[in-house]
């Protein structure tokens, strides 16, 4: 059924495909990011409850959504890599992990900066913040595990395995944290009712989410190209390409 995908599992084809897509993806991602953010920052009305602080939503929500999207992508790549033994998919796992970690860090930092004026503290043990922190640990675990092996092949496979274990655990962690949070502290968080969002605020937000998704793709292309070169450095096509 997926026979048409086969050529893209070949690293050389994929390298050139990524190279072709990269400029379009990168330019459109950055343009949409600027458009969404400027629109959200300057051309939408302030929230009636939160004033102008709500404008952080235009980076907080996209980065939070895409930090989870990146994990899903990484785990899918890990699954493909381990089940069908496709090397390129192993490299994709390691290419995505740092991007996901940076997105998660952005979601955490912007969440803190939003929480300070709204909740009065930089950090509260809110269920979502806690889950996001644990997500960061999982990303760092994948990166650190890969880095601990001197044999790159083994490191790739083990990191993919950990990404898969993590994706099974993630829902369990998420629900237990949510349950724990409602048990320990209720009112302080829930009084911050989510405002039903006005269409004029929604459009820039959707554009920013799209921009973060495209940026994830663009960065994956960029990093995957490097990974292909590093892993295939002794193959003739790479030597011809680089050596000239």
């Amino acid at each position: 059924m997926f026979k048409w995908l086969d050529p893209y599992a070949k690293s050389e084809t994929l390298y050139h495909l990524c190279g072709k897509l990269l400029p379009y993806l990168m330019v459109s991602a950055l343009a949409l990011l600027l458009l969404g953010n400027i629109w959200g920052l300057a051309f939408t009305p302030a929230d009636y409850q939160q004033g102008d602080s709500y404008r952080i939503i235009h980076i907080h929500v996209p980065s939070a959504i895409m930090s989870m999207g990146a994990y899903a992508a990484m785990a899918s790549a890990a699954f493909v890599a381990l089940v069908w033994q496709i090397k390129v998919a192993h490299w994709a796992v390691l290419a995505i992990a740092p991007i996901g970690a940076v997105y998660t860090a952005i979601a955490l930092i912007t969440g803190m900066a939003w929480g300070k004026p709204m909740w009065g503290a930089w950090w509260v043990w809110d269920a979502r913040l806690t889950s996001e922190l644990i997500l960061l640990f999982l990303y760092l675990g994948v990166i650190a595990l890969h880095g601990a092996f001197s044999d790159r092949q083994v490191g790739n496979k083990v990191a993919s395995l950990l990404a898969l274990v993590g994706v099974i655990n993630l829902p369990i962690i998420h629900f237990s944290v949510e349950w724990w949070n409602t048990l320990h502290q209720g009112a302080s968080i829930t009084k911050f009712a989510k405002p039903s969002i006005d269409p004029s605020m929604l459009w820039p937000l959707l554009i920013s989410i799209l921009a973060f998704a495209l940026l994830l793709l663009a960065l994956t292309c960029l990093r995957l190209r490097t990974a292909i070169l590093v892993n295939e450095q002794h193959r003739p096509w790479v030597r011809k390409l680089v050596g000239g």
């Binding site: 999982l138 650190a144 601990a148 092996f149 083990v158 274990v165």
Partner: protein, 220 residues
């Protein structure tokens, strides 16, 4: 048959290397006795923090033992032989897990009356603690076997194992400590125990599979 041989081998190794299982137990007791010194001997205060303290001490002491689980077998080529000889890796993994639980999990359960004494827990909370340890320590063993298998061939161990395993421990920590807390307040805690059991069964089904593939990857 095969698993019995593996188990006998594990137990013989444990009997020879007493430090491997004595150190975590000592560590557990020392950490628990440091807490009252750190936060003050107030009985009410101790009773409030006890559930969390017990479980964090248990996590750390199991982690201490996890570091070396597969290292020696990897270095002297036992695992390579098992993989190459097409022996049942699953039996080996199960024996390893069971031996790990016998040497680190079981002592913690047996020590729970002492812990209750140190932290001033009542009978109901003691019972809850023993039950959560009974359900939780096998899960701890499974996860530490997994972490140890993943990092087996890694050149730089150290903090890595903690970074991998501790996020996976979080659900266990949450539900186990909340069960003890509920018990000390005289509430029903069967729900938490049921969730712990569910997590244990899920891990029992999935972790050995992940461990065998991790072992295969590491020696390939």
């Amino acid at each position: 048959m095969v698993s019995r041989i593996f188990l006998q081998r594990e137990l013989r190794l444990l009997a020879r290397q007493k430090a491997d299982w004595l150190n975590p137990i000592l560590f557990f007791i020392i950490v628990l006795s440091l807490f009252p010194l750190g936060v003050g001997p107030e009985p009410n205060m101790l009773r409030i923090i006890a559930p969390g303290v017990v479980w964090i001490a248990a996590l750390l002491s199991v982690l201490l033992a996890a570091e070396r689980l597969f290292k020696d077998d990897y270095r002297n080529g036992v695992i390579e032989q098992l993989v190459a000889g097409r022996q049942s890796l699953l039996a080996f993994v199960l024996a390893k897990t069971f031996a790990n639980w016998l040497s680190t999990g079981l002592p913690l359960i047996l020590l729970s009356p002492v812990v209750a004494l140190l932290l001033g827990l009542e009978q109901a909370a003691l019972l809850a603690m023993a039950l959560t340890l009974l359900l939780g320590t096998p899960l701890l063993s499974l996860l530490s076997v997994l972490g140890s298998a993943l990092t087996m061939a890694a050149d730089k161990g150290g903090i890595l194992l903690a970074l991998l395993i501790l996020p996976l421990y979080i659900p266990l920590l949450i539900f186990a400590s909340s069960a003890i807390e509920a018990a000390s307040m005289g509430l029903n805690y069967q729900g938490q125990l049921a969730i712990l059991l569910a997590m244990l069964l899920l891990a029992l089904a999935l972790v050995p599979m992940a461990v065998t593939s991790a072992l295969r990857i590491n020696v390939s």
